[in-house]
Amino acid sequence: MVSINGAFSRSRLTSIRVFQGGCSFPAPRALERSFSKFPARRMRRVSHLLPLCVLLLVNGCKTSEDATAAATQMTTTASALVDYYAALEKLMKKTDELNRLQEAMLTIPYQQPDRKQIADQAAEFEKREQMAEELTQLAGAFTSLASPAAAQAATDSTTKLQTELASIKQLTPATDEINAMTGAMQLLVSAIQQHKEREAAKAMAATLTGLDGFFLKEMRANESLDSQFVTLAGSLATNLVDQGQIDESSYVQDALGSFDLTARVTDPGIKARIDVLAKAHIAARGDAEKRRFARASTGMEQALAEMARRVNTVASDKAMKSRLAPPSLADVAKWTAEIPGK
């Protein structure tokens, strides 16, 4: 039923179910204990969404398992979105480092305004990461409908999210999508304050639809930013090969390793031919990285769209077709795990 990065099994969650009010759903404390093996940051994101299960379950027992699955999927997807933006922020910082390296190697000046522009872009991705975190906070806060304090927390959370949204500098015009999210969040708070669970879930789905649209609009710009990093890194690597600054011995180690022999390539002809191989390798790896990022972006977008559909399905009291987390998130995890230095 539950799968968070493939690390959480169905049997583990079902074993900590409790019976409450005729409906079976995971007990928050028990569920939090079961997440104890997760890193603190991910644990925090997940725990904030636990009350969402409760909200969605209020709609009726017949959809309780669907509701739980939808909440879990939302958690997993929001977590992947945070990781996606964090990885892009890291790429911008790596871009800054590579430009400094290029300045040192090739004496190409790297000063203002370029430094500031790259730093600004890193800050933009940090804002998006915060936005994704705030969405998780909101999902958790809008759940405890009986408590005035929780309603206030939902309002506070929404205000923070709206502030995050307002501070975002659009890479591609996406005013309609941002306005849709803002409007949906206002409906969400209103529904929570009036204890209208179904309307709250529908407003959450609308918020997610807006987020999907926003993400889709920026996908091409994100791909460009990944490409410039890959191209710059490839350019520096190729330059090092051309300048004879790599050890070609590493290329023949596979042939010698099994025999406990160490390479010492000194022949200029062999070195030159290996350099050709090395440059082809740099180009191929660069292309593969660009394809991996394109798949990650597409996977993220598909997961956001699926999450919106699923929450909407639960809000409409319909049965979901699948309770598994979107498989496309695997492409996101694959890319974020491979960012240099991560």
Binding site: L106, Q117, Q170, A221, T238, D242
Partner: protein, 108 residues
């Protein structure tokens, strides 16, 4: 991201890929400095555009985009031949000048 930014992207990424080779091909410090100035200007134009937005339906943007595409094609041809490095840098200068002009049409 529209056609205008894609065109600036093509110019900058192309220069990124060739930066080492062109630097090596320069025969005087003046040539090298001239090329580096253009490379930096291309990078600045790219980042100025990635942080902003274009209105591709603006006729001036469309004209400059078309001109930049042609100029970038000339740069690629000259780089492929690499016979006269001074001519290569002239072509790059022409393309980067258009890219810089185009980047001023990006709205914040």
């Amino acid at each position: 991201m529209g056609d205008a930014l894609s065109t600036i992207e093509a110019l900058y990424f192309g220069l990124q890929q060739q930066v080492g080779m062109i630097s090596l091909a320069t025969t005087t410090q003046a040539e090298k400095d001239r090329f580096m100035t253009q490379y930096v200007a291309a990078r600045t134009a790219y980042w100025a555009c990635i942080n902003k937005m274009f209105h591709d339906d603006d006729p001036q943007v469309a004209t400059l985009t078309r001109q930049l595409k042609d100029a970038t094609t000339q740069v690629s041809k000259a780089e492929a031949e690499m016979g006269n490095i001074s001519k290569v840098i002239d072509n790059i200068t022409q393309a980067v000048t258009i890219a810089a002009q185009l980047s001023t049409f990006a709205a914040g």
